[in-house]
Symmetry: C2
Subunit: 334 residues, 2 copies
C-alpha cells in the first residue's frame, strides 16, 4: 500500500507542534510520510516559501498558520490535494465546509477539497450545544474564560513572565501580544473591536467568530447567539459559561442524559463535591468537559452549563485530525 503524504504548515507553532504529537496516536505511523514547514527552516522543518515542490507533493495539507498562508495554499492546490485549514481564511466561505466532526461531519461526504477548522471557542461550544439539538435551542448567551495559549506561544510566555514577576513582587513586564498584564487580571479578548459602521459593531473579532461560525456549524443560520470573550490567566484550555433558551421545558435529568450521551462530551457535574469543569483538568485530553448543568429558576425553558476544553487539542489540532481521519475513512484509506 502506498503511504499517504501529510504536510503540516506552521509546524513550529503551538497547534503545529500538537498536530505532530497527536498524529501518530491517530494514524498508524507506517501509513504516512510527514513533511513539516515553517516560515524559517530548522532541524527537520523546511522553509515553506522555498519548498514548493515538496508542498505540491503532499496529499493532505494541514495549515496551522495564518490567513495569508492559507490563501496561498488554496491558490496552489493541485486537484488531488486536500487542505484542512485552521486559519480563519475560509471559514465563512459558503463553498467551504466548516466542520466539527461530532456535529456536522457528514458534510465531508461531499469530498470537499478545502475544509475549514473552526475557531477554538466555537468548536468547544458547538460540541456541547449539539447535545441539546433535540430540545430546540432558540437562543445562546456565552461568556468565556480563555487561556493565554489561545494567543500562541508568545501569549503563554507573556503570562509566564507576568506570573514570575507577580510571585517576586515585581511589576509585570510589558508584553507584545497582550496590551495589559494577564497575571492576576482578566481582560476583554485582545482581538480588535469591530467598528460602529460594521456588522457586529462593538463585538471583538473573537466574539464575532463565535457568533458566525457557531451558526454555520450548527446549521441554524438565524440562531440568536451572543458571546463575550474574556482572557483569564490560565495557561491552557478555555472555559465557557453558557445559557441556552430551549423551545421546550426539559427536565434536569433529561438534560444530563443528553450531555452524557453526546459525542465528544464528558459530564463533570458533582454537586456534592463542587467538582466541575476546570481548565487544569480539561487540558491534554480531547473531550469537552460539561458541568453546572441546571435549569433556570426564573425561566423554565432556559438552562445553564459550564464547559472547559483544551483549545489547542479539541479546539484546533484534534479537530483537524478528526477531519483528516474522516476523509481517509471515506476514501477507505485508513
Amino acid at each position: 500500500v502506498k503511504k499517504i503524504k501529510i504536510g503540516i504548515v506552521g509546524a513550529t507553532g503551538l497547534v503545529g507542534l500538537e498536530l505532530q504529537r497527536l498524529l501518530p496516536q491517530r494514524l498508524r505511523p507506517a501509513t504516512y510520510d510527514l513533511h513539516l514547514f515553517a516560515s524559517r527552516a530548522r532541524d527537520g522543518v523546511h522553509e515553506f516559501a522555498a519548498s514548493q515542490l515538496l508542498v505540491d507533493d503532499c496529499d493532505y495539507l494541514l495549515n496551522a498558520t495564518e490567513k495569508d498562508v492559507a490563501e496561498k495554499l488554496r491558490r496552489g492546490l493541485k486537484s488531488n490535494q486536500v487542505l484542512i485549514d485552521n486559519s480563519s481564511a475560509f471559514r465563512m466561505d459558503p463553498e467551504v465546509p466548516l466542520v466539527v466532526p461530532e456535529v456536522n461531519g457528514d458534510i465531508l461526504q461531499s469530498a470537499p477539497q478545502v475544509v475549514a477548522n473552526p475557531n477554538c471557542t466555537a468548536i468547544l461550544l458547538c460540541v456541547a450545544l449539539n447535545a441539546l439539538k433535540d430540545f430546540g435551542p432558540s437562543r445562546v448567551v456565552v461568556a468565556t474564560y480563555q487561556s493565554a495559549s489561545g494567543a500562541g506561544i508568545k501569549g503563554l510566555e507573556e503570562l509566564d513572565a507576568g506570573m514570575k514577576a507577580a510571585a517576586e513582587g515585581r511589576e509585570t513586564p510589558r508584553g507584545e501580544v497582550f496590551k495589559y498584564p494577564l497575571a492576576l487580571n482578566v481582560f476583554s479578548h485582545n482581538t480588535s473591536i469591530r467598528p460602529e459602521a460594521s456588522m457586529g459593531a462593538g463585538y471583538n473579532d473573537e466574539e464575532w467568530k463565535v457568533v458566525e461560525e457557531s451558526r454555520k456549524i450548527l446549521g441554524v443560520h438565524h440562531l440568536p447567539i451572543s458571546a463575550t470573550c474574556i482572557r483569564v490567566p490560565s495557561r491552557r484550555s478555555h472555559a465557557e459559561a453558557v445559557t441556552v433558551d430551549l423551545k421546550m421545558d426539559v427536565p434536569l435529568e433529561k438534560l444530563r442524559e443528553a450531555f452524557a450521551g453526546a459525542r465528544g462530551v464528558k459530564v463533570v457535574d458533582d454537586w456534592e463535591n463542587n467538582h466541575f469543569p476546570m481548565p487544569l483538568e480539561a487540558q491534554d485530553q480531547d473531550l469537552v468537559l460539561v458541568g453546572r448543568i441546571r435549569k433556570d429558576v426564573t425561566l423554565g425553558r432556559t438552562m445553564h452549563f459550564f464547559l472547559a476544553g483544551d483549545q489547542i487539542r479539541k479546539g484546533a489540532a484534534t479537530n483537524a485530525l478528526q477531519i483528516l481521519e474522516e476523509i481517509l475513512r471515506q476514501r477507505a484509506i485508513a
Copy 2:
C-alpha cells in the same frame, strides 16, 4: 457636639481592615470614637465575646463578620443603636432594608435600626443595572470573574502560595478555602450547590444571593435573572459579563449616556485601544467600571456590558460606609 461612637465587629478581616482605612476619608475623625472588636483580642482590638458593655455603648455597629455574630448583635441591640450588617443574616428579611445607596438609598428615610449590606457581586451588578432602569430591564444573565479575596484573607493567601508554586514550577499546595488550585485555573464558585429539592436547585449559594438580592435591591421581585459565579486567579476586584434584555430598542449612544450619567459608575469603553474594565484597574477605588457596552446584533432589544469593581470597597466596606453617611445625614449629624 458629642462624638458618635462607631464599633467595627470583625476588625481584623479584609472588610474590617478596609472599613478602618476608609472611615477617616468619609467622616471627619474629630466627630467619632472608634471601637474595634474581633474574635480574639490584639493591639487596639477588643475580644468581642468579652466586651458586651463596650459593644452596648456604640451608637453605630458595623458588622464585618459572619451570620452568627450578626444574629447575636441584632438580639442585643439597644433602641438607640443602629446595626449595618455585612453578613448574609438579614438580607432577605422583609423587615430589613437591603441597601445600595446609589440605587435604593431613599429606603433609609424610614430610619431602620438594622440595615443589610448586600453581597458584593450583587452590589456591583445593581449599581450598573440601575443605569438602565428607564429602559425597562426585563431579563438579566450574568457570568462572573471573582477574585480570591472574595474568600477573605485565607483565599488570598492560597492564591499567593499557588502563584509562587506555579512560578517555581512546583505543584500548588493544597488549600483549606479552595478545594482546587486557583493559580492558572478557574473554577465554579466555592460555595455549596443548592440541592435538588430546594429553591434555586443547582445554583451555588453565591449565585442564589445574586438572584435574590438583586431583585430586592432593584425592587423588581419577579425579574428573570440568572448568574454563573466563577472564581478566577485575580487578587482583588470582581468582574462580570452582563446581558440585559430591555423593554425597548435603545440606541447605543443612549446606553452609553445612561451609564456615563449613573451614580457610582465610571465608563471605561475605549474601542480603539481595547481598553475596558479590568480588576487591576478597578481595585482600590470606589466606582464600578463599565465597558464593552454594545447592542446584541441578533436581538435588537438586548444589550451587553462588562464591569469590574473592587468587591472589598464598593462591594462591602464603602457601601456600608455610604449607608452610615446617609443615616448620619438624615439625622443631621454629619
